[in-house]
Amino acid sequence: MVEAKTYTSTRNSCKLCAPLGASMVFKGIEGCVPLIHGSQGCATYIRRYMISHYKEPVDIASSNFSEETTVYGGSKNFITGINNIIKQYKPTVIGIASTCLSETIGEDIPGHIRNFKENFQGPAKAIPTFINASTPSYCGSHAEGFHNTVLATVQTLAEHEKTDDLLTIFPGMVSPADIRYIKELLDDFGIKHILFPDYSETLDNEYTSEYQLIPTGGTPVWKLSKMGNSKAIIEFGSAFNKGVNRVKNSGSLQTAGEWLESTFYIKNNPMPLPIGIEASDRFMETLKQISGNEIPEKYRKERGRLVDGYVDAHKYVFGKKALLYGEEDFVTAMADWCKEIGVEPFWIKGADFETLREKAEEFKPDFVLGNSKGYYIARERKIPLVRVGFPIHDRFGANRMHHLGYRGTQELFDRVVNALIEYKQENSPIGYKYL
C-alpha cells in the first residue's frame, strides 16, 4: 500500500457517490422504493449505473429539486414525491437518501416526514415505514453511503423484546450470488438468521412477464425490527468501515453491528469479507461457535476441493503481481487472498485510476483484479483484467458472480488462473493445446 495522490483534481475516479450506496441498501429491503432527495439527475444517473451492472429494473424516485425548491426548501417537493410514490408503487417502506444539494441547504428530512404523516389523508396503515439516511456525496464514497444506510435502517427499525437464537449478519456490498450463498450456508448450518441488506432477488430477479413495480425479495421490516433480539452479529468488512468523519455529525462513526452491540448488548463479530481460505475459515469457525454445530460436510468438501485447486494451479499464480482497486473492505480482503495464493497485491488507498495507471508503470502488474472501470489500464498494459466487484458494465452475469466463502474463492481462483493461462497461450508463438 502506497500513499495516494499528487494531483488536486480527481482523475478518473475509483469511487462513486454516497446516494448510490444508499440506493443499493434500500433495494435490499422488502417492499421498499428509494427516494433521492435532490435533483432529478442524481436518481437517474444512479439508476442507469446500477441497471448497467445488474441488468434489472432499478426504479428510484427523485424529489426533483428546482431553483425554487433550492431557495425555499424541499418540503413541498418531498411531500408531492412521497404521495406520488405511494400512488404508483404502494410501498411498505420508502428509503430516503439525502444528497449534497439537500444537505447543503439544510433540509430537515425528519421534519418533512413528520409533516407528511401528520397531514396524511388516507388510513394510517397506508403510511409506509420511512428510513432516512444522510448521504451527502461530499462525505465519503458509495461505500460510506452503503454503510451509513445500513446503520440508519438498523437504528430506525431494530427493537429488543427478548434474546432469540438468532444471528444478524451484515455482508456488506457483495453480489446477489454472494448473498444467496451466505443464506444457503447459514441454512445448512441450521442457523436462524437475518441478513441485511438482501438484494439477492430484487437485483437479480427471475423473468416475471409482468412488470413488478417493486421486485419481490429483500429483508422484510418485521425481520429488521427483530435484529435487537439476536444473540450474535456478524459484520463483514466493517473493520475498515466506520462511516465517515463528518464535521457536522461525528456521531456516525459506528457500524450497524457496533451500534447493535452498544445498544442491545449483542456480541458483534466484525471480520474481513470471507475471501480466501483463511478468511473463510474464520467465518466458518465463528458460525460453529455461534451455533454449536459442526461445519456441514458440504462445506468441508468445498474447502477440500479449493485446497486441491490451489495445489494443482499454484505455479500459474505464484510470484505474479496484481493491481487492485475498489471499496476498501473489498480490496483489503482481495489483497489478503492474493497473498494466500502467492500473488503480490498492489493498491493505493484512496487513489483514482490515473494515479494507479501511473504507478502501475513502476509496479508492472501481471494482471488487474477489479471492476470494469480499470479496463483501460489493463488494455494499455496488455494484461488481463479479472472482473470482480461493482460495477461490471462490460461483461454479462455480474449478479451471478461469487466472491465469498470457499465457493466464491474457488470461482475467483479458477478465473484468475485461467486468465493467466489464456494470457500465456495467446502470447505464445506456439499454439499449446496443453498448459
Binding site: 483534481s9 446516494p19 432529478q40 439527475g41 437517474t44 444512479i46 424516485a61 464535521v247
Partner: protein, 443 residues
C-alpha cells in the same frame, strides 16, 4: 387511465385528428420516477464529444463518475474527452468554498494535457455555495491563453433540455473567435451529430461525395479550432434539434447563417438531408451527385430491407427516446421494415414535435412526454408491443416483460445513422424480434 398520475394526465395523448395537444416542456413531477436526468446531464452529453478540450467537473464525485466515458462518441484524433476530471468537493470545501481547489485543478490539468480549451461544469452544490467560477475562468484564460469556458449547469436549474441550452451558450462563446485562412464557399457545419459508433464519419463520406465541404462538426469528433471557425460556414445542418436549435438560432442572429433541420435515421430522412443541402446551394451538379448516391445506396439496400420487411410485418414497436425528433425518424424507419409504432414518447419533445408525431402515426398510437416505468410498462402491455426502442433505463422494463429491445441511445456501439445504419437497425430489430428465446417467456 388509472396508472397515470393526475398531474401527468395531460402529458399523454393519442394519434388522431381529434386528440388533444400534449402538454410538455414541464419540470418532471416529484416521485414520478422520470427517465430524465438534469441540467448538468444535458450540458455534459452535448459538450462531451469535443475531443481536444478538457472537461472538468466542479462538484461532488458522482457527477463526474457517472459521466466518465459515457457516450460512444468516437474521435479521429485526441481522446481527452474520455477522461473524467473532478474537483471532488469535500465537506471542508463546501463550508469554506471550492475556489482554491478548482483553480489548482484547472492549472495542473492544463499543464498535464496542454488542451485547446477547458470546459468547467458547475453542479448543484456549486450553485448553492456560490464559487465564482466565471472569475477563476477569466483569470486562467488570461494566464494560459486558451479559452476556459464555465458551463453553468447546477442540476436543479431546470431540466435536461435547459442543459442543452447551457451547452449551446458555452459553444457559442467559441464561435467566431478565430478564422481559418480559407473556408470553401459551399461548406456546412454539422450540428447535433455526436459521432456515436462513428456515425458522423458515414455522413462525412456522403457529403464529400456530393462536393460539400464540412467545416465544423458540433460536437461529434469535435475540435475547438473548428468550432472557433464555425461562423465561416454557409449553412448549419441541424440534427437532434432539441439540443442544437438554440445554437443554430444564435448563429443565425449573430452571423446570419441559415439553418435546416434534418435527421439521418431511415432512408427518407437521410435522403432528404442530402437533397436539402444540394437544394440550398442551388447546385445542379451537387444535386445530381446526391441523386446518384441515394439511388446507388437504396438499390443496394432494398433487397435486404424487403427481406426484413417480409419477416417483420405485423410487429409492433414502442419508442421512448430522449429527443422527439429522433422518434419521428424512428417511426418512419420502422414503417420501412413493416413495423408499426404503437407507443411514441420522448423525454424532451416540444409541442410541434408531438403534433408531427400525432399526424404521422396510426390512430390510437399512444403519445407520451416525460414518461416513467409504471406508465411505460402499462402502455406496452395495453398495446401488445413486441419491441421496445429506447435507452439503457428502458431495457430492463422491456426485457422483464418479454419484449425485444433495441438500444437507440448514446451508448450504442453499432452505427444506426445513414444507409448502412438503416440496415444495422433492421438487423437489430430482426434479431430481437425473432430470437427463439421468446418461446420461454410466453404463457
Amino acid at each position: 387511465m388509472a396508472h397515470i398520475l393526475d398531474e401527468r394526465q395531460k402529458q399523454v395523448s393519442m394519434a388522431g385528428a381529434n386528440e388533444r395537444t400534449i402538454d410538455c416542456n414541464k419540470a418532471s413531477l416529484a416521485g414520478s420516477v422520470s427517465q430524465r436526468a438534469c441540467v448538468f446531464c444535458g450540458s455534459r452529453v452535448v459538450l462531451y464529444p469535443i475531443v481536444d478540450a478538457l472537461h472538468i467537473i466542479h462538484g461532488p464525485i458522482g457527477c463526474a463518475a457517472y459521466t466518465w466515458d459515457i457516450r460512444g462518441s468516437l474521435s479521429s484524433g485526441p481522446e481527452l474527452h474520455r477522461l473524467s476530471y473532478c474537483t471532488d468537493l469535500q465537506e471542508r470545501d463546501v463550508i469554506f468554498g471550492g475556489e482554491p481547489k478548482l483553480q489548482k485543478s484547472i492549472n495542473e490539468l492544463i499543464e498535464l494535457h496542454n488542451p485547446k480549451a477547458a470546459f468547467i461544469y458547475t453542479t448543484c452544490i456549486v450553485g448553492v455555495i456560490g464559487d465564482d467560477v466565471e472569475q477563476i475562468s477569466r483569470t486562467i484564460q488570461k494566464e494560459k491563453g486558451i479559452p476556459i469556458i464555465p458551463v453553468q449547469a447546477p442540476g436543479f436549474q431546470g431540466s435536461k433540455k435547459d442543459g442543452y441550452k447551457v451547452a449551446c451558450e458555452a459553444i457559442f462563446t467559441l464561435v467566431g473567435t478565430k478564422s481559418k485562412p480559407y473556408t470553401p464557399a459551399k461548406s456546412i457545419n454539422i450540428l447535433g451529430d455526436f459521432n456515436l459508433a462513428g456515425e458522423l464519419w458515414i455522413l462525412l463520406e456522403y457529403y464529400k461525395k456530393m462536393g460539400v465541404h464540412v467545416n465544423a462538426t458540433i460536437t461529434g469528433d469535435g475540435r475547438v479550432d473548428d468550432i472557433c471557425n464555425a461562423h465561416n460556414a454557409a449553412l448549419n445542418v441541424v440534427q437532434c434539434s432539441g439540443s442544437m436549435n438554440y445554437l443554430a438560432k444564435m448563429m443565425k442572429d449573430e452571423y446570419g447563417i441559415p439553418s435546416m433541420r434534418v435527421s439521418y435515421f431511415g432512408i427518407e430522412d437521410m435522403s432528404d438531408a442530402l437533397y436539402d443541402v444540394a437544394r440550398f446551394f442551388k447546385d445542379d451538379d451537387m444535386m445530381a451527385k446526391a441523386r446518384e448516391l441515394v439511388t446507388e445506396e437504396i438499390s443496394r439496400m432494398m433487397p435486404a430491407l424487403a427481406w426484413y420487411k417480409e419477416r417483420l410485418t405485423g410487429k409492433k414497436a414502442a419508442i421512448y427516446v430522449g429527443g422527439a425528433f429522433k422518434a419521428i425518424s424512428l417511426v418512419k424507419a420502422l414503417r420501412l421494415i413493416g413495423v408499426q409504432s404503437v407507443i411514441v414518447g420522448s423525454q424532451t419533445g416540444t409541442t410541434e414535435d408531438y403534433e408531427l408525431i400525432k399526424q404521422l402515426c396510426d390512430e390510437g398510437t399512444i403519445i407520451v412526454d416525460d414518461s416513467n416505468p409504471v406508465e411505460l410498462s402499462h402502455f406496452v402491455k395495453e398495446k401488445q408491443a413486441d419491441i421496445f426502442i429506447g435507452g439503457v433505463k428502458e431495457r430492463p422494463i422491456a426485457h422483464k416483460i418479454g419484449l425485444g429491445f433495441c438500444d437507440h441511445n448514446h451508448e450504442r456501439k453499432e452505427p444506426l445513422a445513414g444507409y448502412e445504419g438503416m440496415i444495422n437497425f433492421a438487423k437489430e430489430i430482426y434479431a430481437t424480434a425473432m430470437s427463439p428465446v421468446w418461446k420461454f417467456t410466453k404463457g
